[in-house]
Every structure is written in C-alpha cells, then in structure tokens.
C-alpha cells in the first residue's frame, strides 16, 4: 500500500518545488520578453547568489533542529570588518580570509549560546543578530564605507569577487559571473557533505532526534557548533561578494536577509523541526524567490504588491508540500 501511495506522492515531494519553479519561469517568460533574455537570467542568478549562500548555511542549521536569525547581521559585520581593513591598507589577500574567519567566529558564538548556554536557537541568534548589528554600527559610526576598490589599490581579487566574470577561452563572449560560480561550487560541496559524509549523517540524526543521536554516540554539541560556523562562514562570504559588487559596505546591509533565507529553506521542503530536507530543495527555493523578485520588477509590480505576491507563493508552496 505504501509503495503505491509513494509513487505519486514521492514524485511530487521530490520534484514539486522544481516543477513550481519551472511553471513560474514559463509564466513570467511568456508575459515578458525582457525577462526571458539570457542576460537577465545571468543577472537573476547573480542576484540569487547572496541569498543562496546564506540559505545553504541556514539549511544546515535548520536540519540540525535550530535556526539562525543572525545571518543578516553576520553578513554585514564580516563585510564591514573586511572593508575597514581594506580602508586601513590591509592587503585584500589578508582581509578576505580574516573576514571569513570572523564570520566563522560569529557563528561559533551563536553555537556556544545554543550548546553550552542552553539557550533556544531562536533566542540565542536573536541575541547575536542584535549584537552583531550593533557592533557593525559602532565600528562604522553608522556611516557607509565607500570606494573600496580604490582603497584596495584596485585589487583584482577584490573586484573579481562580486563583479568578475568567468570567461571560457574558446568562447570569449560567454561570460559567467563569479558569484554564480561560487554558488555552484558551494552547492556541490554542501550536496556532497549532506549526502555522502558521516558528518551529514550526524547532522540529520541530531535534527531528527537529538536524544537518540546522543545516545548513539553522536557529539551533538559539536554538530551544532559546526552548523552555526558553516552558516557564519557562508554569510560572511555573501557579505564580501556584496561589498565587492557595490563597492561599499554599509552597517545596515543585509537586514531582513534571514527571512529570505528561511523562506527559501521552507520552500525547498526542509522541515522546520529539523532532520528532513535537502539542499537541492533550498536552491530551488532560492531561485523561486529570485525569479519572483526579478520578474515582478520587470513586470512593473510595485514593491508593496511584490511582498504580498511573494507571501502567497510561499504559502501555496508550503501547503502543497504538506498535502503529499
């Protein structure tokens, strides 16, 4: 009996979110010629890369049974640390890894509050979210840090992160923006990690039933620390791409990003209780949100209506997911 039910139900739950994405793309493409330009798709993917990286980290945290509200603040604080260093003449080759490590450290603090501090993940990361945003404000005195490329001495590395393109020697006209490459590579690593490593197994086990996992010898505190560190690292990476792209760092950047990331994870079918979900679902969720943002803009829908449309799409997707 279960087998028969499964064939249809399982197909929908496996591919439902991808079908939804496809339908959305087809609909908007058929209305708007501008949307269906190849250049626009690359642009859309580049826009998606920020939310994508953050949502990958968020997926890990949510799979472990937690949540990370601090991603937007980590995004800003790491970027500002990088920008400050560049402003003070630190070479980009040093500033970038240091900023990424700052992201890891910020994540580990959330992780410590959750594990050793025994705070609920929602509360723990609400605290770090507020604190990191405040620190970003304090460091910059609330002002943006601009003309970063110039301060970095026109560093190629710095400019490449957000603005660069990958060019095939045999097809010089076909350029792929670097952020998209980063997104794809990180996706590959995450996919492998979740599906084919013992760490992935421990992560799912922790989210599925922490008590059972601990009794089976899983160091659940270490798993939790790791997922917040991953989330911090990827948020920082997204932040660096952003400041490279816009050539400035602002203390308010990335506020509200946690919500887009959570929405993408939810759209992708990952259980908010942890233990169930896939990274492929998350990327589909990220793309749905990006297509909506981009498409509705092109169609001239005002931002007020955009929010409502987004909410409706998320609601429909999540309800459809529950039906299976």
């Amino acid at each position: 009996m279960k087998k028969e039910n499964k064939s249809i139900g399982a197909f929908l739950s496996e591919y439902g979110v991808f079908i939804a994405l496809l339908i959305l793309v087809v609909i908007i493409s058929s209305i708007s010629p501008e949307f269906r330009q190849p250049g626009n798709f690359l642009n859309l993917l580049r826009q998606a890369s920020f939310n994508g990286l953050i949502a990958f980290g968020m997926t890990c945290v949510i799979l472990s049974g937690g949540i990370d509200l601090s991603v937007g603040s980590t995004f800003a604080l790491s970027a500002i640390v990088c920008a400050e260093m560049i402003g003070h003449g630190v070479p980009v080759i040093v500033a970038v890894p240091v900023a990424l490590l700052v992201g890891v450290a910020l994540g580990l603090i959330s992780g410590l509050l959750v594990t050793k501090g025994r705070l609920q993940p929602f509360i723990a990361t609400l605290i770090t979210m507020t604190a990191y945003r405040g620190l970003a404000m304090i460091i910059t005195d609330g002002k943006p840090i601009s003309r970063l490329a110039e301060s970095s001495g026109d560093s190629v590395l710095f400019k490449a992160m957000g603005k660069g393109n990958f060019i095939f020697t045999f097809a010089p006209d076909f350029k792929i923006p670097i952020p998209i490459i980063i997104l794809v590579v990180v996706f590959g690593i995450m996919y492998f990690m979740l599906k084919h490593t013992t760490f992935g197994r421990r992560l799912y086990a922790t989210g599925s039933n922490a008590k059972c996992a601990a009794l089976s010898g899983v160091n659940i505190d270490r798993v939790k620390m790791s997922v917040y560190a991953i989330s911090g690292f990827l948020s920082a990476m997204a932040g660096l791409i952003m400041i490279s792209r816009v050539d400035s760092a602002q203390p308010i950047m990335g506020s509200g990003y946690e919500l887009d990331a959570i929405a993408a994870v939810a759209l992708g079918g990952t259980s908010m209780n942890g233990g169930r979900g896939r990274i492929a679902g998350t990327i589909a969720g990220v793309l749905i949100i990006a297509v909506l943002n981009n498409g509705l803009n092109i169609l001239g829908v005002t931002s007020y209506y955009q929010s409502v449309v987004k909410a409706v799409v998320i609601l429909v997707a999540v309800l459809a997911d529950r039906k299976r």
Binding site: M1, K2, T198, G200, A205, S208, N209, K211, A214
Partner: protein, 494 residues
C-alpha cells in the same frame, strides 16, 4: 452494554488489515483481545470507537446497528478508549487534565476550581490512588500519569472501557490497584476490553478471550477452558516451543564491575559485576532507579562517585561516545524517543552507531552501507519493504530488531538492554531472546533490565534486585522465584 461486531473489513490502501474480523462483548465481562502486533486489535477497536470507518461489516450495540463517526460520539454512547500512548497535557495539573473539555463552571462561565478539585479527589479516592490533584503531570511517574488517564475515562460514565496495554508502565502495586478497579467496574456492569501481550495478567483477570491473527477472527474462548500454550498456538498459528529458549554456553571471566555508583538523588552505593557470556537480570519496581543506573554506566547521567572497571581496568566514561568506545552497547527503554530516528530509514538507523564501519575518512561508502544493512535485515529477520523503509511504519517488534542490529554491529563487550521486549509480540519476543542468547554465547556480558518477572526468571543467570536506589540482593537464577524477587523489590530481605 452488549457489543457485537461482525464481518468487519478494513483496508489501508491495498493493505487489508482486517478480513472478516468479529468480536463479541457481553455485559459486565472482562474480555481479552489478543494477537501479535499487526494482527488488527487496535484497528478493530478504533473502528468500534469511530477513529476509523469500516469498509464493510456491522456493529451492533445493545441490539441496534450503529456507526460512530468520531471518538466523541462513541464516548457519548459510553464507549471509551484508553490508549497505550498517554494522551495527557504534561504542563497542566492532574485536575486540569481530568476536566479538560468538561470543566465545571459556575453560572458566569468561570471555572469552579473548588468543585473540580473535590470531584477529582473523589475519583482518586474511589480508585485508591494517592496522587495530589494539583500536581503537575510532568512531575508524576509514567505509572501515575497512566492512572490519571484511567481516572479520566471513569469521569465520563463509561459502559465499555477499552484498555490498550494498560499495565505496560505500571509497577506491581499499581497494577494490583488497577486490577481491583477493573474488577469493581465489572461488578457495576461495565464491560472491559483488555488488550495486552501479558499472558499472566490475562489469565489472572479476564473472563473470555478473543484471538485475532493477520486481521482475521480466530476464536473466542472462556479463559478457564484454555491454557497459555493454546493461546500462543492460536495467535501465531503454529507451535512456538519454549517461551524462553535455553542457553548452554560457559560463563567466562568478569567483564564489567561497578563499585559504589552513587547519584545525587536517584541511587546509592550500587555495586555489581557481569561476566562474559552471562545474562544479569535486573529487577525492581518502576522508579527504583534501574534505568538510571544503566544510564550512568553509559555516561548519560553524572555520578557523584563510583568506579567502573571493564576487563579489570578502571575506565572513565563521561558521555555515551566514551561508553561506546569502551565497548558498551545500550538498548534503551523507550525505543521511540531514545532508540530510533523514527522518521528515518532502517538503513540510516542501523548505520548511525556504525558510521566508522561504513565510511572511509568521513565519506560514506555505498557498498559498505548496503552490505551492513542487508546483513541486518536478514540476520534479524526485519519484516520491511527494504533498507529505505521508514522505521515509523514498522511494528514494535521490528523496530526493536532495528535497534538491536544497530547496537550489535558495534561488537559490544557489554550489552545493556532496558525493557527489551516491551510492546513486542510473542513471536518477536522469542526472536529477541534468541539474539540475547547468541550474544551471551559469543561471550558478551549481558545486562537485561525488565519489569516482566517471568522474563527475568526465564532468561537470567543471576538476578539483581533494586529497591529505591539500593541493590537489595543478587540471587542466582536457579534459586530465584517471583516471591523472592518481589520481597527484595519491595525492600524486604530474604
């Protein structure tokens, strides 16, 4: 109330769980409903109480054909189902639980706390249980929580009471109280359907017995006319042989010794040892501290003092990881919340304790995974669709086999089993006993905590009895009997 169910069919998808099932309940009788897990007992009772709708068949209550559409309708007609899984609100008090949805209010619609408390107390007194009515549920023992559930059923004027494994979590004395209550209910004309795997209880308590097998009605008999062996035969359709298979292996040297284990509150000065190839039964009342002693040996509960020696060497075990490394396997009491990742597959569960075996440098190896899991399903005869079958959809016995496989493949030197056959049917029980014997034959030191005295007596080389956190005695299996164990378990001495 007279209930008659005839020709009941019920399918879930293409899986027919009831085939022409029947059941007949007379006024004021205690009627046991038995069958292996998956035989359809619960489904049949859920059809009676309107949880499920039947595909075909008739239900006649007091001469009238009826169909209840919800448990509430059945309850209004006087048929109440007490589920095995407790249905209580843990953050509320006893009294609030008892009156949930049927609060006594004054004429302004405000809860009349005083009246409710008095009524709650009255019911408690009638049941002969001493649970403070303003205690918060989560502070009570599982046994006490179950008593509250039963009180709740008695609050509505039940004419038919269906109890699913009511004694699974009760202590001996609580069970006695429950039996008194059940007997007095019978005298008042209440009919009771008693669903249980515990043969001894059924023969002590019940008037008649109905047996189901694979969703089909087998027979209804008066208890006085049959023997336990007859029941088993009817349940599984064949001879099962000895309930407790014999073991002939030699007992070797000491593997585990603990000295003076002391917890802040739960137990004190616990010392014992287990030898290779030996099964040490651990008996005692609920809440005596047996489970907690095992958790502390496994590093899951901090000790104030005490020493643990494995193969003569003192070891320090501060968490389950270190316990596993030291060679201890622990099959916990509650497989649903502690033993299994319920929503995950058989494969993921078996691999969880054996990740090192199925991976190289942290990367899972598909071939090793497949062969480990295939071995598990075959060796433990787990009935399933395959390695990706979700554990949630397995029967209790098969779930327990998954837990056994997961631990036994870690090649433990010491295997601790806490209530290994709780909620498991007779066929699967025997398979579990065989696994325990195989482990002993391989020279593993086995500790088996169990509340079922016949099981402890049938399986143990030695029996340790715990009373209120103290070891009151360790006796040889050959010399032990139920009375001796109960004497020690209630704090007496031999």
């Amino acid at each position: 109330m007279h209930v008659e169910m005839k020709g009941i069919n019920k399918s879930f998808g293409t899986n027919q769980v009831l085939k022409d099932a029947a059941f007949n309940l007379k006024d004021g009788e205690i009627h046991a409903l038995m069958g292996e897990n998956g035989a359809g007992k619960s489904t049949l009772m859920k059809i009676l109480t309107g949880v499920y709708t039947r595909d075909s068949g008739t239900v006649i209550v007091d001469g009238k054909e009826v169909t209840y559409h919800s448990p509430k309708e059945a309850e209004e007609a006087g048929i109440v189902f007490i589920y095995q899984e407790l249905n209580v609100l843990f953050d509320l008090t006893v009294e609030e639980n008892l009156f949930m949805g049927k609060e006594i209010t004054n004429r302004f619609g405000v809860c009349d706390k005083k009246a409710m408390r008095a009524k709650a107390q009255e019911i408690m007194d009638r049941m002969g249980v001493h649970i403070p009515v303003d205690a918060v549920m989560s502070d009570l023992s599982v046994g006490q929580q179950q008593m509250v559930e039963i009180c709740k059923a008695l609050m509505v004027d039940a004419k038919v009471l269906i109890m699913d494994e009511p004694t699974a979590a009760l202590t001996q004395s609580e069970t006695e109280v429950l039996f008194e209550v059940i007997n007095s209910l019978r005298k008042k004309g209440v009919s009771i359907v008693y669903v249980s795997h515990r043969m001894e209880e059924i023969f002590e308590l019940c008037d008649r017995i109905t047996i189901l097998r694979d969703g089909t009605y087998i027979d209804t008999k008066y208890i006085k006319d049959i023997t336990m062996d007859d029941v088993v035969k009817m349940m599984i359709g064949r001879e099962i042989g000895e309930r407790y298979p014999k073991r002939n292996n030699a007992i070797g040297g000491e593997v585990l010794r603990v000295e003076g284990l002391t917890h802040e509150k739960l137990f004190r000065d616990v010392s014992f040892n287990v030898r290779a190839g030996e099964v040490l039964g651990v008996s005692g009342l609920m809440g005596a501290g047996r489970t907690e002693i095992m958790h502390s040996i496994f590093g899951n509960l901090p000790l104030v003092k005490g020493k643990i020696f494995i193969e003569g060497k003192e070891v320090s075990i501060r968490n389950p990881r270190q316990a596993i490394e030291a060679g201890i396997g622990f099959i916990t009491e509650d497989r649903k919340t502690e033993g299994l990742l319920l929503e995950k597959s058989i494969a993921e569960n078996i691999e969880l304790c054996n990740l090192g075996k199925v991976s190289t440098k942290g990367v899972l190896q598909a071939e090793k995974q497949a062969s480990l899991v295939k071995r598990g399903i075959e060796e433990f005869r787990i009935r399933c669709f395959g390695p990706h079958h979700e554990c949630d959809n397995l029967s209790g016995g098969n779930q327990q086999k998954v837990v056994l496989a997961k631990w036994i493949y870690t090649d433990p030197k010491i295997l601790i089993l806490d209530e290994p056959t709780r909620g498991v049917d007779i066929g699967a029980k025997k398979e579990i006993y065989s696994v325990i014997n195989e482990m002993a034959a391989k020279g593993v030191a086995v500790i088996m905590v169990s509340s079922e005295l016949p099981e402890v007596l049938g399986m143990s080389d030695r029996i340790m009895v715990v009373h209120e956190g103290h070891v009151t005695g360790i006796i040889n299996g050959a010399d032990a009997d139920q009375e001796k164990i109960m004497t020690l378990a209630t704090g007496g001495s031999l």
